[in-house]
Amino acid sequence: MKFESQKVAKPYFIFALVLFVGQILFGLIMGLQYVSGDFLTTYIPFNVARMVHTNLLIVWLLFGFMGASYYLVPEESDTELHSPWLAKLSFWVFAAAGVATILGYLLVPYARLAEITYNDLLPTMGREFLEQPTITKIGIVVVCLAFVYNIGMTVLKGRKTVINMVLITGLIGLSVFFLFSFYNPINLVLDKYFWWWVVHLWVEGVWELILGAVLAFVLIKVTGVDREIIEKWLYVIVALALISGLVGMGHHYFWIGPGEYWLWLGSIFSALEPVPFFMMVVFAFKVVKERRHEHGNAIATTWALGTAVMAFLGAGVWGFLHTLAPVNYYTHGSQLTAAHGHLAFFGAYAMIVMTIISYAMPIMRGRPQGNPIAAQRLERFAFWAMCLSMLGVTLALTVAGAWQIALQRLPESGEALGFMATQDKLAPVFWVREILGVVFLLGLVAYLSSFFVGATESEVDSLEAAAV
């Protein structure tokens, strides 16, 4: 670690992982409710569990992105963070707001939460992923402002590397596009049209810049490959992400009101969205192959490669599977959408956060060459357990989706099976999904345990020798 202020990333990473555990637990509750409708339903109705599951995901990824930025920007800029104090303060503000919001979801009926937070003054609640009370949304804006200001000032006074510039455009985009969450017109079509300016422009736009920048940073560190080479790749990858992804938003405009030309534009541009993800795979494997040194933190390299592969599968392959309009006509809003959502969020965003944690946490804990061998071994097991079980969840949901479409969507009206009857038929696949979800949780427990595996005596000796 080059600068003391990078350490402010630590609480961000720890809290992100705590929320991650919560996300998975609520996912398991929902998975059971899919097959056993009475499970916990009087205490945690499905809509509440889902809101907690998705909102925890968004918030823990934001904590992860913030931690990643606070860690890498000072090092890239070659200067201390502008204000470590502000970073610590915004951590507590964000954590308190997040916890209060989740408790609000769980403790009072949603309609009551809307009343006590004066939603009627500026109604923004009750839309998918943007369920937070308006006051929480304002809090998110304040935290983002403090964060972007802090990171921006650090970049301004220091080196403006490509990684810094790509990261900061991503972070500014994240903050700016979130402002669309405050626009909630009475006209549902307009509401949906601009709702995507938050959701799509985040996950298929500016978040990809953050992903690319963090991945490039870790790859420079663990491979020692010349920055010039990595930076050129980074520029090309994020350029293609934006060029395909911005108008690629059209694939969400097929069936919600906008005109027919979106069928063409959305299909063509979003069909190109896998290209930058494919390049990310080539790039990651190429620089690891051409590495200049053997970094002691081998598992961080595994995470970096895994992120590229799983992001390509989840966002690229599973996205392409149903992005062409004639296909999407039948798949839209089916279990196939859920399959894509799970693998894309995990592969691209959950994994990039775990990549930077895997690289940076050992350094912040005084282990510049990574965790002890035993800890890395356990982390590697957790890596495979989580990746394979999430692939399994995705495959199960893909089968469920294809089956659902065959029963409910393809036949003519009159012959098609109704929604609930179809869901009953899918129950065996939903059970498989739930079991694989439990395996994922075990993988996550193994991952968290790996933080507590200590060094052997000989490792301690060699560390001390290196320190002298």
Partner: protein
């Protein structure tokens, strides 16, 4: 990558390409805004439809259902529920919706449970008006059949 393709060129593709495509998106959005009134029939948005949308949001209906295919996939699609359950007759649909909302949660073991939202008759009417208006949006003929 080839040496002829320099980092400076890559940078220009990133900033130039990004800005160009974003402007293209803004232009397409302006065009869509001009076209939408013919497709969403906003002239039919009454106060009741507006209240219905707020009820939809306040009760987090999208946490289980989908609306035009967006939302959760736990419970049936509702953008065409007017056609499916009302057969295109507004009074029939309102009668159905009132009865349906009143009987939740149904005591069928293991069936996915819809909570009881305690809506008033007026609120049921408003929610129905919102769903009826929604069913008439031109959404390029989605979903493929009545089951949603």
């Amino acid at each position: 990558m080839a040496d002829r393709f320099t980092k400076g060129m890559a940078r220009n593709v990133y900033y130039g390409g990004g800005v160009f495509v974003f402007l293209l998106l803004v232009g397409l959005t302006f065009d869509t805004m001009l076209e939408l009134p013919k497709r969403d029939h906003r002239e039919n948005i009454t106060q009741s439809v507006a209240n219905g949308k707020h009820l939809w949001e306040k009760n987090n209906c999208v946490g289980c259902h989908s609306l035009m295919g967006e939302g959760a996939y736990f419970a049936p699609e509702l953008a065409n529920v007017f056609d499916r359950r009302g057969g295109g007759d507004e009074q029939v649909f309102k009668g159905f919706l009132g009865a349906w909302m009143a009987m939740q949660p149904m005591s069928v073991p293991d069936r996915r449970k819809m909570p009881q939202f305690n809506l008033t008759d007026k609120e049921v009417e408003e929610l129905a008006d919102f769903l009826i208006w929604t069913s008439r949006i031109n959404d390029n003929d989605w979903p493929p059949n009545i089951e949603g």
